[in-house]
Subunit: 299 residues, 4 copies
Amino acid sequence: MQIGIIGLGKMGFNLAQNLKRNGHEVIGNDVNRDLVEEFIKQEGLKGAFTLEELLENLSGRRIIWLMVPAGTITQTVIHQLTPLLKANDIIIDGGNSNFKDSLLRYQSLKEKEIGFLDCGTSGGMEGALNGACTMIGGEDEVFAHCEQIFKDISVENGYLHTGAPGSGHFVKMVHNGIEYGMMQAIAEGFEVLSKSNFKLDYEKVARVWDNGSVIRSWLMELTERAFSKDANLDQLKGKMFSSGEGKWTLETALDLGVPTPVIALSLMMRYRSMEDDTFSGKVVAALRNEFGGHAVEKK
Amino acid sequence: MQIGIIGLGKMGFNLAQNLKRNGHEVIGNDVNRDLVEEFIKQEGLKGAFTLEELLENLSGRRIIWLMVPAGTITQTVIHQLTPLLKANDIIIDGGNSNFKDSLLRYQSLKEKEIGFLDCGTSGGMEGALNGACTMIGGEDEVFAHCEQIFKDISVENGYLHTGAPGSGHFVKMVHNGIEYGMMQAIAEGFEVLSKSNFKLDYEKVARVWDNGSVIRSWLMELTERAFSKDANLDQLKGKMFSSGEGKWTLETALDLGVPTPVIALSLMMRYRSMEDDTFSGKVVAALRNEFGGHAVEKK
Amino acid sequence: MQIGIIGLGKMGFNLAQNLKRNGHEVIGNDVNRDLVEEFIKQEGLKGAFTLEELLENLSGRRIIWLMVPAGTITQTVIHQLTPLLKANDIIIDGGNSNFKDSLLRYQSLKEKEIGFLDCGTSGGMEGALNGACTMIGGEDEVFAHCEQIFKDISVENGYLHTGAPGSGHFVKMVHNGIEYGMMQAIAEGFEVLSKSNFKLDYEKVARVWDNGSVIRSWLMELTERAFSKDANLDQLKGKMFSSGEGKWTLETALDLGVPTPVIALSLMMRYRSMEDDTFSGKVVAALRNEFGGHAVEKK
Amino acid sequence: MQIGIIGLGKMGFNLAQNLKRNGHEVIGNDVNRDLVEEFIKQEGLKGAFTLEELLENLSGRRIIWLMVPAGTITQTVIHQLTPLLKANDIIIDGGNSNFKDSLLRYQSLKEKEIGFLDCGTSGGMEGALNGACTMIGGEDEVFAHCEQIFKDISVENGYLHTGAPGSGHFVKMVHNGIEYGMMQAIAEGFEVLSKSNFKLDYEKVARVWDNGSVIRSWLMELTERAFSKDANLDQLKGKMFSSGEGKWTLETALDLGVPTPVIALSLMMRYRSMEDDTFSGKVVAALRNEFGGHAVEKK
């Protein structure tokens, strides 16, 4: 099939290669002209420097795959794209948009008879290139029209029409919440190892845990890989950035009244890691000093 | 090699089959005569109704694999076994013993010149049968003597001499702590799914998450399997039993000063699940009523 | 001063008595005519069955105190009230409104030259009657005009102009977040006491803790009072309802990137208490069964 | 009554003044001769440079109050003291000993017919001086003999015979667990305030919260006091030391199967505050980089 991709960053670029390898015709666009030029250099890939040019290169029922940052940028691109589209054209948002936004976008595009699929894409850059995991929300007919794309870019059993519009990004969001929890669990385990008196080889521990154990997982494989590059992670700072989906999962859980302590704490330890010192710590230190005369550490 | 196994329950029985398949000669013992009789019925497996009989059937440097419940029973078996052993014989504790106990046992057996290996065994019953993950603590020479056993019963790259005595059970304990966290993370995610307005097929979601996603893992595969048997887990109660290793991980983390919120909360949600009503809940309800006249639910 | 109160429930009724005792002239209104009629029966209190009647009874720069449920009802009352007001009149929202809503309301009323103060009111029903704690956000001039009211209804040092519009409800919201944490801390402590082997008299423990200890507090005094009525809280169910402010505090903390594990968990244990059984518990139970053959409890 | 005090640090010194003011005859001892000399300088207080000298100065049924650090030092002092005592003499351990140790000490002293009371003492240095909160475990007869002491040194309603030996330190331990939770709750609240856009005066907020609000408490009074000395706590580092009782409360909760998330997290945030960077943070950062190519911060 013919697919236009908007957003040629790490994920979009890899996805385009994946699509091409599976016999699809890909035309790529990005606001960054350099990325478009590099894209064009790849054998078998076409580029477009404007949205208009992109759409001109697509025929029939046009499919536009967005792979741009969630939030304002996704909103802007859809805003610019919509007047250029015609009835039956399809936008697939393959990024990490909030499922509530996706639902609103579906409804808004529906009024213009433009199809919309919200596609949560997991598997990282490697997955985007070699076989991803895709969770797709949207109308049956629109999904059916695009199903072959999802089938081709995903690993076996790695795509799912999750249901109604919004459900793709919803399921992906929850996936990320689980991911936060799993990563923090692994991280806590290794910190316990690191503080013990045993002399342990973290890479070897990660490898044995990834082979035959109950906790074998892709994340454990990646843990092994990370330790193979830097045996004690001496070169890294432990700053744990977060990009929204863990927070959304927690906010959604709060709205639904679901206790999610592990997801909550995984997120909060990330927040904590961004602070060198904390105001809350100062308050507790001050209180201990007030009632018990306990020593405080001055700056 | 010749191996005596004490403890023919689910794990020990499967492990014996695994050893036999790999060409080892296995003699099994259990305090439960029925289990020994069933064991003997298996082609190629020998049984012993007493420890004395077990040891008589082993020659040279004898290797005894314990696969019995941690704590008192393991202690009792070692206590009974020790006077029957001679210098250089080897006890492998393949159960979930506390690593501190294992260290003490190592030291105590060392005085009698009896070898001791603490072997954490992961992978569940399937692993015990078809290929486990083993983490082994103990002296180099003793490990080297037994290495072929661990290599044979484990999947490829699935065994590791973790280091000093106690380290095998220590690494296995931390593994279980991580396991608690991962399971709770998955469980929280599915509870969020279950409370949402989207109609989701949990088995399909688990399947897609197990194929190509960042959170693909054996636990996700098992989640899929569980939902395939009971689509909404309607037949289960959500009681989450725990058998000690999560608690030990947390206690160890406290001793080492390591913040492990995810492991802690995974354990505490298990404890919470064992209570129908809580005294803490009553206290909060009573307080809300005292200051705000908020309604309380009476029994 | 003359004050119109809208909302004659537990809090509004008590507050009116408090104002009257301090020499203010109070006219009360409620959508529930019965409450108005009961209000009128109180010596020295006037009632109004409609907003129009209420406003007619006030002269000069009119002050209307809202003591109605946060959210839709507050919004509706303000919506109905606004066209009846004239420039310089003042609305005080004494309820538990979300500070973001209060800020919007301030701005919207500002365009109509109507003054607005957001007043967080703490101290429970007793405080409303005998001396509350009030935290007031709003413009200096508007606050100054009403300051005597806040001074009169509050205990000594118990009122504060917190600053800009919205800050009163913001500070009150955070107060409630702390309240959640303190209550859960107390509740956990008593649950530990209750599970121990010591035979303890909870009322006496609460009393001694409320006299001279580091944790002496009004909440501990209320704990003592609760146990004095029901020594083991046998008559209560441990359902911990929540009415929004803890959730808002947590959501705000997430927006601000502040780790607030204690407030988060206090809220989540409330959510947990509303569930008899959990889907997450079923998932963990099912997983333990899958990998370890661990027993599950069937329904 | 005559009371010998061993341990003339901050708490013991203040307690001695408190006892003297209430008409008791106090003889003080400390391993640090300087402290004894300073003690003697106080009007009406006697000092003893050795345990022998201390005991010689006491007559009849001797009462020795220990106010020394829990653990090894308490154990050592009791070990040295015991052979010098005679039947019916009484040791009161007023420190923060682990209740399990206190129970063992009671039993051991019981064999020698020496009385033992475990007295948890709360209220900080001010309480020790002016009126403390005391929770006392031990036999009825021994408690009755000493009751006047506890009554005198405590505020009104501020002493309690909690019950069996060990129960005093047990109740004090749980008190400290609650204290951890309350302090962390307050601290989290102030951190939320500090990150908001509102300009808030923390001292004033603490003051208003301490007057009439639901969360009024001695800790809030101390919070106000701390901010009055350093408006933004700029001079402090947020290192939250801990001295054992929070950890014991959590360990006890784990043993009893009580979910105590707030106490657990209060302790863990203290641990976290002692680390500048974390190994767990590095693991998460490394994993995010592995699967998503997310930027990591290098050292």
